[in-house]
């Protein structure tokens, strides 16, 4: 499998920012994920080749971190903060509502491929909890009603 020009350029740029180009493994994974939504085995191997590390090393890094998806995800990844501040102000309600509305549990993707639901630790939005991110966009002060409205925005 071949990475796109843009991916390779992106990775090579990151490699140029470190004394040891191998340090760009994490960035490489993130770049691939930005382009493809997730990191397949093939994409992982291809990225490893660009950074000049073995696939197993790439995998060791990929499986360590939270934000690298090694399985296909939906078009929109919902990351719901499950940490203490949000927990105190209604996280559980929002969680249950999301799960029942979407009909999926954490770690799953809706049948139509629209949403993947993941828990995430503290998003740094503690004063406006409960908070979640859909893709790169923060949504806060969630209630079940607001969640419904937000989900409608994502097709």
């Amino acid at each position: 499998m071949q990475l796109s020009e843009a991916e390779i350029e992106g990775i090579q740029h990151e490699m140029s920012l470190y004394e040891d180009p191998g340090a760009a493994t994490i960035e490489a994974l993130k770049i691939v994920q930005e382009h493809r939504g997730w990191v397949s085995d093939e994409a992982l191997a291809a990225a490893a080749a660009v950074v000049n590390v073995t696939p197993t090393q790439m995998e060791a890094v990929a499986t360590f971190y939270n934000l690298i998806f090694r399985q296909p995800v939906g078009r929109h990844v919902i990351m719901l903060c499950d940490s203490i501040s949000c927990y105190l102000v209604g996280y559980e309600q929002v969680r249950d509502h999301l799960k029942s509305t979407l009909g999926i549990d954490f770690g799953q993707t809706t049948a139509d491929g629209r949403f993947t639901l993941l828990p995430i630790c503290c998003l740094g939005d503690c004063d406006k909890g409960p908070a979640m991110r859909v893709g790169e966009v923060y949504h806060d002060q969630l209630t079940p009603e607001r969640v419904d409205a937000i989900l409608d925005e994502y097709k």
Partner: protein
């Protein structure tokens, strides 16, 4: 030096050490997991908790990890402290939360470090109530089984595999309590030292698949001190057997050679011993060309007439057989009719190597010393394939730079992670000139590729750059090459302990002469300079010392009619000479008598008479390793009669031939060798004699828990058999005898100590200090003496080949003939192919995958072509040993 107190006892200790190593050396039972004497400390498992007190007044103290605690002067520590003990037992309880407790079906049972530590800490009651997490296992290939559920996440596997052996395909994956140690996907572990995971893993995650196939417990095995016969390094092994079946090879600690680690060829290459197709009866080829078994008495008469009628007998010895087997053959046929069994080029290279070794016998590195060398030049050898264990040592020598940088920042040598973090990718220099890309290239400075003669030229040039009085090769080097040579010379000169490595695998004596010159130039400036020379087979050096005549002399005798009978000791003629010549000689010879343990091509196609000889597992013997160290191996089990040691067959034949030697056992035979050939003086001290006893006792081959002795042969006879008496050694065939730390190291069949059942931990009790040398000295004696006339440089003669040349490509799995008969190794053998560079392929008008028919030395093979850009022009890489190709005759000029 520092004075420290442990549990109220004062000790003077090495202040560069950590507390755990010191406590273990002093005999304390302090549990640990992540620490290992070779992998050092990382403080991950938190098992080695002890109390440290700040000063005499401090009564509270604090918990520290012994492995991460320097032994500073005045330190006061308590291992027995209650709180520390509580911590240690709690760590085990945590580790056991997810452990499957499947000891009954676990191959590690009985030699499990986790079992030992669990008992040692006193963790007996489980309080955790939740379910256990489970993992999927991976297929890691023919050597290693994987059972991840047993993992306690001590990280030792990756620290050995990745950090020590530089393997890249086994990693820690995942995080928190879901860490997983494996590959990115199923597949054979790629590193040549993967088998050590079996012993490095403190529980049963990585186990020996070849043992698993016919499993039994450690305590039910009969073992013996072994020497690996799969290359010339002489790593010490502990083969285990039961009921006449070889079960496994385990590492046997030797402080100067292999210490804790073996290569996979050595560990998994012994399966040939259990093959069904081995000759187990005397065989005679009938008129139809079929080998038929003969009863012993019939065979005796047959052999008597063979010898009576023989018009000249010549013997072909073997560099893979012991000195004793070879000497017995030599005795049988007479010194002048004996050949060393090597091909002519191999013999020439080995002789050259011997000369170099003798010239520098005071400067020969041990494997262990290689790890201390801080600049290395390798001339010609692809060591990973030809003498694999060297590669592992070289990988450590490359890290000397890390230690140097660490020391400059006051980071102690045992602080493994910090040493790595500061060292990063800065390595001590290793230069390597080979015919093609090698597996060491990742740590080599600008790998240099050239044909054998050009490699020799490079070596001569380095010698000349180091010392202008050393002759340079006739043709001056081009500018780039000269700059490279100067860089090498400068680096070697600047090193504290430089090392030159060369060997015989390319079959070019000039490479060895060049290495000798470089060494000579180096050592005048630096007495720390070291030389390391590898040979092709386990006893190549021994045979080079024994006899100059190579196998061609035996063929010549048959060809010119001086002899009509060929006696072969554990050798395959087809490996040593062109097929046409072997076939012609066999046709002409009246009788070809072969004593061997395997169905070689010679046994199968050439022998008229076959006598089933014991393999290393069924015989005692002495081998001379590449550094001139005589080492003894012992019979692991007695083979079923009439199989017997090669030397005993030769002795029997001598009897029917009318000159029976009066050797009652090994002692007599060894004494005869020493008396006859002074160059072998000293081999009698390689191990205690057969009459040696401790408190009147022999030394057991089996551990004291050996079970089922009365039942083992109940199908044959319900009465208990009396244990066999070993006529040749001080070992017993039973569990009776002296068991203790005063066992002479050469007679240690296995390592076991109270409370310490695993091989790598139990051995600590037999070492002077942990990871150091065996109490009583590492076994073996170095017998090389400085040769006369060692002060001159050798002539810088090389023999350039103008046109096409075939060069040998060795493979760790496949090129050595005995291991190549082992099922697990066969699975890892590379496909047969000729390798050429793209330009060569173009001029041959071939592309990858096309078949090339190539006549080498009169013998034609057709293999597919593979493109290997690293090869020099007009050079064909030829696979050695496998697929009927004899590599020990290369390099040669060819015309494709």
């Amino acid at each position: 030096m520092a004075t420290i107190t442990i549990d109220g006892n004062q000790y003077d200790v090495d202040d560069t050490e950590n507390l755990l190593a010191v406590a273990l050396s002093k005999g304390y039972d302090l549990p640990y997991f992540c620490w290992h004497p070779e992998l050092h400390s990382v403080g991950a498992c938190r098992q080695c908790a002890v109390k440290q007190y700040r000063n005499d007044e401090d009564e509270k103290g604090m918990i520290v990890m012994a492995c991460m605690t320097p032994c500073s002067d005045g330190g006061r520590f308590e291992i027995a402290d209650k709180e520390a003990a509580e911590m240690r037992s709690q760590v085990i309880e945590w580790l056991m939360i997810n452990h499957p407790h499947d000891c009954p079906v676990c191959e590690e049972g009985g030699e499990c470090h986790l079992q030992d530590m669990t008992l040692m800490t006193g963790h007996t009651q489980r309080r955790y109530r939740g379910p256990k997490r489970t993992h999927r296992n991976q297929d890691l290939g023919p050597f290693i089984s994987h059972e991840m559920n047993r993992c306690i996440a001590c990280y030792r596997c990756v620290r050995f595999y990745r950090d020590y052996a530089d393997g890249d395909d086994l990693r820690a994956l995942g995080s928190h309590n879901n860490v997983y140690f494996g590959r990115d996907s199923d597949g054979a572990l790629d590193n040549e030292f993967s088998g050590n995971l079996v012993e490095v893993c403190p529980t049963g995650v990585f186990t020996d698949k070849t043992l698993g196939a016919h499993y039994n417990r450690k305590w039910d095995m009969q073992n013996a001190p072994g020497i690996c016969t799969h290359c010339s390094l002489g790593c010490n092994t502990s083969p285990g057997s039961r009921q006449g079946m070889l079960k496994r090879i385990q590492n046997r600690f030797h402080g100067e050679i292999n210490h804790y680690f073996l290569c996979d060829r050595g560990r998994f290459g012994a399966g040939f011993v259990n093959r069904d197709d081995r000759p187990r009866q005397p065989l005679v080829r009938n008129a139809d060309g079929i080998l038929e078994p003969r009863a012993m008495d019939v065979m005796r008469d047959t052999m008597e007439s063979v010898f009576a009628e023989a018009k000249g007998v010549v013997g072909v010895g073997s560099p893979r057989a012991s000195l004793e087997d070879n000497y017995a053959l030599r005795h049988l046929v007479g010194a002048k009719q004996f050949s060393n069994g090597m091909s002519a080029p191999d013999a020439a290279a080995s002789r050259a190597a011997l000369a170099v070794l003798e010239n520098h016998s005071g400067q020969l590195a041990t494997l262990r010393e290689i790890e201390e060398c801080d600049a290395v030049l390798i001339l010609g050898e692809d060591v990973t394939q030809t003498a694999p264990r060297v590669a592992l040592s070289l990988r450590q020598s490359a890290r000397n730079k890390h230690h140097e940088m660490a020391a400059a920042n006051k980071i102690p040598k045992w602080h493994a992670r910090a040493v790595r973090d500061i060292g990063q990718t800065h390595n001590s220099p290793i230069f390597s000139a080979t015919t093609h890309a090698t597996r060491l290239d990742d740590i080599v400075v600008e790998p240099y590729r050239a044909r054998p003669n050009a490699i020799a030229a490079l070596g001569f040039a380095v010698a000349n750059a180091l010392d202008a009085t050393a002759p340079a090769a006739v043709e001056p080097l081009d500018q780039d090459a000269q700059a490279f040579v100067d860089a090498i010379a400068a680096t070697l000169k600047g090193a504290k302990k430089p090392l030159i490595i060369a060997g015989t695998s390319l079959g070019d004596p000039s490479i060895l002469a060049a290495a000798g010159n470089a060494m000579r130039a180096l050592r005048t400036a630096n007495s720390e300079a070291r030389l390391f020379v590898t040979f092709n087979e386990a006893n190549s050096l021994g045979l080079a010392m024994m006899e100059d005549r190579d196998v061609d002399t035996a063929f010549a005798a048959i060809e010119d009619g001086t002899a009509d009978t060929l006696v072969v000791m554990q050798n395959c003629l087809y490996e040593r000479a062109p097929k046409a010549r072997v076939d012609a000689a066999i046709k002409k010879a009246k009788n070809v008598i072969v004593m061997d343990h395997s169905l070689t091509r010679t046994v199968g196609e050439a022998a008229t008479h076959v006598l089933p000889a014991g393999s290393f597992a069924e015989a005692d013997g002495t081998l001379i390793n590449n550094e001139g160290r005589a080492q003894r191996f012992f019979q692991v089990f007695i083979p079923d009669a009439p199989m017997q040691e090669g030397w005993r067959w030769a002795q029997d034949l001598a009897e029917v031939a009318g000159h029976k030697p009066d050797w009652i056992g090994m002692d007599d035979l060894i004494a005869a060798i020493v008396a006859d050939m002074p160059q072998f003086a000293g081999i009698q001290d390689a191990a205690p004699s057969q009459s040696f006893r401790k408190f009147g006792m022999r030394f057991p081959r089996s551990p004291h828990r050996y079970s089922g002795r009365t039942a083992l042969y109940a199908n044959v006879d319900v009465r208990e058999r009396r244990p066999e008496v070993d006529p040749d050694s001080a070992l017993s065939y039973s569990m009776e005898g002296y068991q203790g730390v005063a066992t002479p190291p050469a007679l240690m069949s296995y390592a076991w100590a109270p409370g310490w059942d695993s091989n790598q931990a139990a051995i600590t009790r037999f070492q002077d200090e942990v990871g150091g040398h065996l109490k009583g000295g590492d076994p073996g004696v170095r017998i090389l003496r400085v040769a006369a006339g060692h002060s001159a440089f050798a002539d810088a003669t090389i023999h350039p080949v103008a046109g096409w040349q075939a060069v040998p490509i060795h493979a760790i799995f496949g090129s050595e003939s005995q291991s190549a008969r082992s099922a697990a190794i066969v699975e890892r053998m590379p496909a047969a192919e000729y390798r050429v560079n793209p330009a060569a392929a173009k001029s041959l008008k071939l592309t990858a995958g096309d078949t090339l028919e190539l006549a080498i030395d009169g013998e034609t093979h057709a293999f597919p072509i593979a493109i290997d850009p690293s090869l020099p022009d007009q050079t064909v890489g030829v696979p050695v040993g496998m697929h009927g190709v004899c590599g020990l005759r290369l390099p040669v000029e060819i015309k494709p």
